[in-house]
Amino acid sequence: MQLKDMFNDIEPDLHKVDSFLINCLEKTSDRLQKGYIHLLKAGGKRIRPAFTLLAARYGSEDIEKVIPMASAFELVHMASLVHDDVIDHSELRRGEPTIRTVFGNNFSLHLGNYLFAKALQIIDEYNNTSLNNLLACASMEMCRGELEQIAAAYNYKQSLRQYFYRIKRKTSLLITLSCQAGAIAAKAEPGVVRILGRYGHNIGMAFQITDDVLDYIADEKTLGKPVGSDIQQGIVTLPLIYVLNYGEEHVRRRLLDILEKKSFTREDIAQMTKLIETTEAIPFSLGIANKYVEKALKQLELLPENNTTCTLRQIAKFIYHRQY
């Protein structure tokens, strides 16, 4: 089963989000539009707008009113991806050349800024101070998370706490907000907003942890980008932190010998992956992801039992079992 299969209920609404996204930049220059279309064509799971739309079903407002909001979160996410690809010097995303590969670093930078500004304009139309405040705080924290990640690059003495701090900001915050915003925009009860926010947080954490695990164990075709790209950029994730903190001495030493190089060949990546796989790092990491999934599922017990809650439950379970 794929993630998109779980969105069957909201498929018509997701199509409306896609249409909204396509029309977003129709009044801008041809050059910007060209880059934007390239970005849209690369696809994406549309997880954040999906969460916004699903969360909105717990409110009383017409879903149509939430479509722009859902689109705005996808724009924020797209903006962050475009910038991330420049920061990470990535050439591929989802199997396609990145914006920076096709159009260059500067274009990517300006497109990302444009998309973020556009997202803020869309959200401003809701005239909701609390929404604006939430997104403002989240976007600052996301930047801090990224800065932390850069500052911590090639630092192999990181703790689990530092890692969780980073991924909360990098990934979980926007998913949390997507869930909350959908409920707020649809005028759901404050209690429901809080529950969905906690669900989003736990799902976001699980999502990033499984993403980090997949970077070691998935194949390139499924992943849509080279395996080991995190460690190639000096990004230290949970499996590596586990081995360096709790792994056997001889495995740690061998890993550290390779890590000292700072620039790794394909063989180095393959060797490091193999070493990590000999330890408990992957099961440990997936265990942590599973704990977050369980926490998310527990939140759903507080919500009314209906199709939407079932869908959210399926998504939570899928995130743990996914392969891409």
């Binding site: 801008t28 300006h110 800065l147």
Partner: protein, 254 residues
């Protein structure tokens, strides 16, 4: 050129600068102080200075104006950091040439948004985000022209014009709302921004002479006082750099 303006609003601008650099230091550690990023601090006070001066002319400065000026200071630095990146760099220089400028700029843009929300300035969110969007469009066009060996200066000049126009408009509007003086100040900002960019980039002034004349004419709409003198002083300074004198007709009137 900005010395008099900075002196006039010394307490406000000092506070704004201190706050901005505290934000950057808190968010990034000492990255910005490692000497890798040339920040012309005086130039970065242009937009906040215009905002404060316009507010003073329209009515008076207040807390809201200072907060807006602070937002404009953040915007100035963010735009500066995001102006241009190297297209090719080695892995050693990646951090300082690409990663930090992008992320610190992103942090500052986010802080612009956060400050607008925190200080109750939501009415200016759409105009400011429109400005940011327009700046990005012009930067994309500038880069395209540069790649094709076509003139890129008109786009750079337009960006400064838009930013200065917004600074003057926001300052005046925040204290006096929409009125005749606010509109005139907006226009002054636009033309001043153009002229400043022309002077700094060594562009051909002949294409922008109408801005020079327009600026002096527009100043006549403002009350003849010390605040108006600030604009005159800036114009005169720009004039010396551009080799221009006060338009003859206005010299007779004065």
């Amino acid at each position: 050129m900005l010395t008099k303006l900075i002196y006039k609003f010394m307490p406000e601008l000092t506070a704004i600068e201190a706050r901005t650099y505290k934000i950057i230091k808190k968010g990034t550690g000492n990255v910005l102080y490692q000497g890798r990023y040339t920040l012309n601090k005086e130039n970065l006070l242009w937009l906040p200075g215009l905002c404060l001066l316009s507010a003073k002319i329209a009515k008076d400065t207040n807390v809201k104006v200072v907060q807006l000026a602070g937002v404009l200071h953040l915007l100035s630095i963010a735009s500066h950091l995001h102006w241009t990146l190297p297209e090719k760099t080695d892995l050693i220089e990646m951090k300082h040439q690409i990663q930090y400028p992008i992320l610190i700029g992103d942090l500052l843009y986010s802080k612009v948004y956060a400050d607008i929300c925190q200080h109750g300035l939501q009415q200016y969110l759409t105009p400011l985000t429109s400005l940011i969007g327009s700046i990005q469009e012009e930067l994309v066009l500038k880069d395209m022209k540069e790649q094709n060996n076509l003139p890129k200066l008109p786009h750079e000049i337009k960006i400064f014009a838009m930013m200065s126009e917004s600074a003057c408009f926001l300052g005046a509007h925040s204290v006096a709302g929409n009125n005749f003086i606010t509109e005139k100040l907006r226009e002054i900002g636009f033309h001043l921004g153009q002229l400043k960019a022309v002077a700094e980039r060594g562009a051909d002034i002949s294409c922008y002479l109408s801005s020079w004349d327009a600026c002096w004419k527009l100043l006549e709409c403002l009350s003849d006082d010390k605040d108006r003198e600030q604009f005159q002083h800036i114009l005169q300074n720009l004039g010396s750099k551009l080799g221009l004198g006060r338009p003859p007709l206005l010299e007779c009137i004065v």
